[in-house]
Symmetry: C2
Subunit: 123 residues, 2 copies
């Protein structure tokens, strides 16, 4: 049968049962965490759903890679760099980042900036 | 550059700029709406991100198909049928539905049951 990772966030923490919280590998600032709620470990071969959280004052690494992203902001506020332009983002905003498009998420608020991020299978 | 669909929900409506609200084609009950925030119309060829909303008392059609789903509950509460078993669901719960797994979402609460649903490209 399918897999359910129950949300178990308390005190405004976003956590899921059976999902470990990892440092984001490319992040040297130690201000970004990653949780993978749907992925290969669940048998999902066609896409992965991850939750990233950026601490106040933090930002994700400046990325540019082959795979595309589908993003939805779940908490906090900030800015996203897409190519050469930066845009304000907040709860619910949905973003599509093209393959090879330069991108970066910056937390500009006082609380964590959290977002769901979908990727296709990595080659 | 990438595409941003700003969240423009007011009065607890979940709506996005540039995204139309559609009846879910398989739904005969008229109690389910669908909005596609990331998909082919945005140039996304590797996955689609959609938001479904089920009215109180409503349910999605009993589905069983080749493509898999990644789901996150964004509002309300209900139950999901996975194969032969039904499970309680609420905010933040992450669900992976396997290819060919029978599934159905039922709203058991007093407010809309809303969830994000990811699919791979359909053949």
């Amino acid at each position: 049968m399918g897999v359910i990772h129950k949300f178990c966030g308390e005190n405004r923490n976003f956590r899921w049962e059976g999902v470990s919280v990892k440092e984001y590998p490319n992040d040297r600032s130690k201000q970004v965490t990653k949780q993978e709620m749907v992925g290969l470990q669940d048998g999902a071969k066609n896409f992965a759903m991850r939750y990233f959280e950026v601490a106040p004052g933090g930002y994700t690494s400046l990325d540019e890679h082959q795979h595309d992203h589908g993003v939805m902001i779940l908490r906090g506020k900030g800015r996203v760099l897409l190519g050469e332009q930066s845009y304000e983002i907040g709860f619910g905003d949905a973003i599509y980042i093209f393959p090879h498009e330069r991108h970066q998420f910056v937390n500009t608020g006082d609380e964590p900036l959290g977002f769901l991020c979908v990727i296709p299978p990595k080659e």
